[in-house]
Symmetry: C2
Subunit: 329 residues, 2 copies
């Protein structure tokens, strides 16, 4: 038995009208005489006709699909962004073409170039340097990025990383910590801002800052670097991690090393992923409002697709104090 998907021509023939009429009807483009309307409706139901999106897209140039590129879908920060973006997209009848670049800048270009031809717009979280992303903009698709690319055509949503970092640092200083360290992730563009915020705060208090660097922003790396930081010559009293995952891995490793947290070390980080509430101790963190970032980015993109300017947005961070930070005794 052959699979015969009915086309608009089949419907037109069966209903005794032209394909143009069926097309207009399907797209609700105008009003029809009751009789025509009735027949077409009946025939469509009868044949089980469904319009071929591909064919439509080819003409209209619109695909009804949004491309979303994230760095690691397993990081709940990105997962929440996807969730937020997905909700808005679905509510507007768009689908989501998801790309996980796995923190590898080298994968971004080929993947996004291919993606750009089949979507109406893209939201991208990138590890590329500003200088290396001309091609992205030249793809000519509406584009929303995370971070703050200095390009006139690109709208973005960003968090105030500098300010958030200043806030955590300030919190730790006020708890009486003198020796504070930062376990960052230099491959990220946000790392500079975070380190800058921490440094600015500490300098204002004339305190030094020790910096360490992850290879990947993951629990595994927090774990891996723990011994060298905690058992080295310059053991910190408080540590700020690049993100919650790093902090979780680090805390667990520190406890395995015999340290009491937060008594021996206060730990704080960025993102406020859901699971920070369940760690032991619970995690003090800077809430970046991931889901809202996703929602916001998608709203901007849909606006751009409709030719409106959604502008750019800075989302204010909020310090969430939990059990992992404590006053120096």
């Amino acid at each position: 038995m052959k699979k015969n998907v009915p086309t608009i021509r089949d419907v037109a023939a069966a209903a005794g009208v032209s394909t143009a009429t069926v097309s207009k009807f399907v797209n609700g483009a105008q009003r029809f005489s009751p009789s025509v309307e009735a027949t077409i409706t009946a025939v469509i139901a009868d044949l089980g006709y469904r319009t071929n999106q591909l064919a439509r897209s080819m003409i209209t140039g619109r695909t009804g699909t949004i491309g979303l590129s994230v760095l690691d879908i397993r990081n709940p920060h990105y997962t929440s962004i996807v969730k937020g973006a997905s909700r808005v997209a679905m509510a507007h009848g768009y689908n989501l073409l998801l790309v996980d670049t796995e923190e590898d800048p080298g994968r971004e270009r080929p993947v996004l170039e291919a993606l750009s031809r089949r979507v109406d717009g893209m939201i991208v979280f990138s590890r590329l340097r500003e200088a290396d992303m001309d091609w992205l903009v030249e793809l000519g698709k509406p584009l929303v990025m995370f971070g703050r690319p200095q390009r006139p055509d690109v709208r973005w949503v960003a968090s105030e990383d500098f300010r958030g970092a200043y806030m955590v640092a300030s919190h730790l200083v006020s708890l009486g910590h003198k020796r504070i360290a930062y376990l960052g992730f230099s491959k990220s563009r946000r790392d500079q801002e975070r380190m800058g915020g921490i440094r600015a705060c500490l300098e204002a208090h004339q305190l030094p800052l020790d910096c360490y660097d992850c290879a990947t922003p993951s629990a595994a790396d927090g774990d891996r670097l723990c011994s060298s930081i905690m058992l080295g010559p310059e053991r910190p009293q408080a540590l700020i991690c690049y993100n919650d995952l790093v902090a979780m891995g680090f805390m667990k490793a520190a406890q395995a090393l015999g340290f009491q947290l937060p008594a021996d070390l206060s730990v704080a980080s960025f993102d406020n992923i859901e699971f920070g509430q369940y760690t032991s101790p619970t995690l003090t963190t800077v809430d970046l409002q991931s889901e809202r970032m996703g929602v916001n980015a998608m709203e901007k993109l849909l606006a751009a697709i409709e030719g409106k300017d959604g502008g750019s947005t800075i989302i204010e961070p909020q310090l969430v104090v939990r059990g992992s930070t404590q006053a120096r005794t």
Copy 2:
């Protein structure tokens, strides 16, 4: 300035050959005379020509895209599945069209029907009952599902939920627990198997089983149901939760109520999400190998698309014992 994306005709004209030749060249369909090959290559590079996938798809019927439908992307169990599936898809040059049905069976049909027209195959995690998914199969696309749908055309990957459940129950019994409860999620088809496995084990030991039911399989619901379970007349000595999220919410609430875990209550669950290692106490759970499920499902689907039969797979569960379960003293 107008955006003029070069088409195959532009290339043909500039190279002085026919569009058919260019098409064949682009698709590497055959060999060409050196001169033709050289000119076409040069012209393509010069014009920056890239083939329009949409147009090609319309003819070939292949889209290079896989649809993946999950119930809640924020649940790390699904996130890992997506990760696994995504890796395999990208490695084979496929894109991923992601759908998050948000645990709402009512959304599945319209969304998947729309999806089916623009993908080469679908992997779906569904809350639909067997009886309600005829339409899914009739969409006529290669299909891989999670769970064990009893349909000849559908390949699936499933975990041995009954066995896994039996294992946890057995573990708790051997720890000396007499009053064991199950906090399930009856909307899931897997719930039956899990409850069955637990019950089978307890009956073998002539122990009773109290059952409770979540409205959603989330930490929020574990939290919400905690007081009624822990402060009711039939407080359990051990609790098996539907998944890790429920367990995490439950444990946290129980501790807030003043209970010592695992001394006052042993808790275990299913999935083995990464974050179960960081809770306090760390979570005893049944590892379902989420990422592998995703990988496996995608491999099966790609096989099906190529006309091969990837078969169906049952993935064996593994009990991961951590701190949340302890012998009854």
